[in-house]
Symmetry: C2
Subunit: 159 residues, 2 copies
DNA sequence: GCCAAGATACTCGGATAAGATCTGTCCGAGTGCCGATGG
DNA sequence: CCATCGGCACTCGGACAGATCTTATCCGAGTATCTTGGC
């Protein structure tokens, strides 16, 4: 799984703590965790394409959340970075085997494909259950100072 | 996810249908689905290292199941091919952030890491629930002729 | 003092390399089988 | 006829390339801001 998933999730969470309507540049989001700025920018572009963030060019530009945190699931972010296709992609090798038919959809009939798909659905369901707002609430209950310290860090950025 | 996972699962299933004590060569298992023999061999080696198969060199050699199908879970096969480490590997970028501590294990405290881990556990649990014997039973109930036709295919291999 | 036009600095966005992993291939080491050979 | 020994064909196992994806970097297009000049 892409490293960018972790970066994207943390960046989305950080974006929930900046002042509303305030865009944050990829450079600032990257500096927060000392990440390569240009590469993080690439990941944020993917989030923008997926409709999770909105991007603004020019001075005072940057990224901000496109929807409310309650409406962004962890699955949305993962899918935006990793792509929509499943991790296990059934190549339907049964078709090449003896007795394989050309017109059968082995993605649905093959027992192995079904088993893998069932597991992946459980994974997706678990990721869809949690929203960015849930993560935010959990962090705030455990570390109450985080919102203020994060906001102020992005407000007066050092270096 | 590796293509080899699909190959390995199908091969394990096929091995449940050959006569007991009969070793099957990688070449035969590959020919069944028209797969590249040498590469499938590589995957089967991984299964052997994981203790799922036993391998025998020389004439009349090949691979056979090391344990009963009831004792081989789908997760075992996936882990043997993909490796034991998790798909989402938390790099603990919180440590690089402001307020990050050197001696904190963010793999367990970070909310994002927890969320991803929970989803992955659901995936693993689902894969561990199913054994090769379960797959075998399902196939046999849906396609009763499969065991015989598969066994005979491996017995008198054409081409 | 106010407005407008131009220059400017800033930011995203995509095009472009470097590295790592997956996919595929090849040949050598080891092993059991088969036949020849001698008793 | 039987046992033994040597050659041999077969199979796995790991070493060796090619392809694809991930990671990282750089520069150009567009834009809001600021400056400067004119009225």
């Amino acid at each position: 799984m892409n490293e960018g998933v972790e970066w994207a999730l943390h960046s989305c969470l950080n974006l929930t703590w900046v002042d509303d309507g305030q865009a944050v540049t990829a450079a600032k989001l990257a500096a927060f965790y000392e990440l390569p700025a240009a590469y993080l920018n690439k990941q944020l572009q993917a989030l923008a394409r997926a409709g999770i963030l909105t991007s603004t060019s020019g001075p005072r530009g940057g990224f901000r959340l496109a929807r409310r945190p309650e409406d962004i699931t962890v699955m949305d972010v993962v899918a935006a970075i990793e792509g929509p296709e499943e991790a296990f992609r059934c190549e339907e090798i049964l078709r090449q085997g003896p007795g394989g038919h050309e017109d059968v959809d082995y993605r649905t009939t093959c027992v192995i494909s079904q088993s893998m798909r069932r597991a992946e659905l459980a994974w997706r369901r678990e990721l869809s259950r949690q929203t960015i707002a849930d993560l935010k609430a959990t962090v705030e209950s455990r570390f109450p100072y985080t919102p203020d310290s994060t906001r102020s860090w992005f407000a007066n950025l050092r270096t």
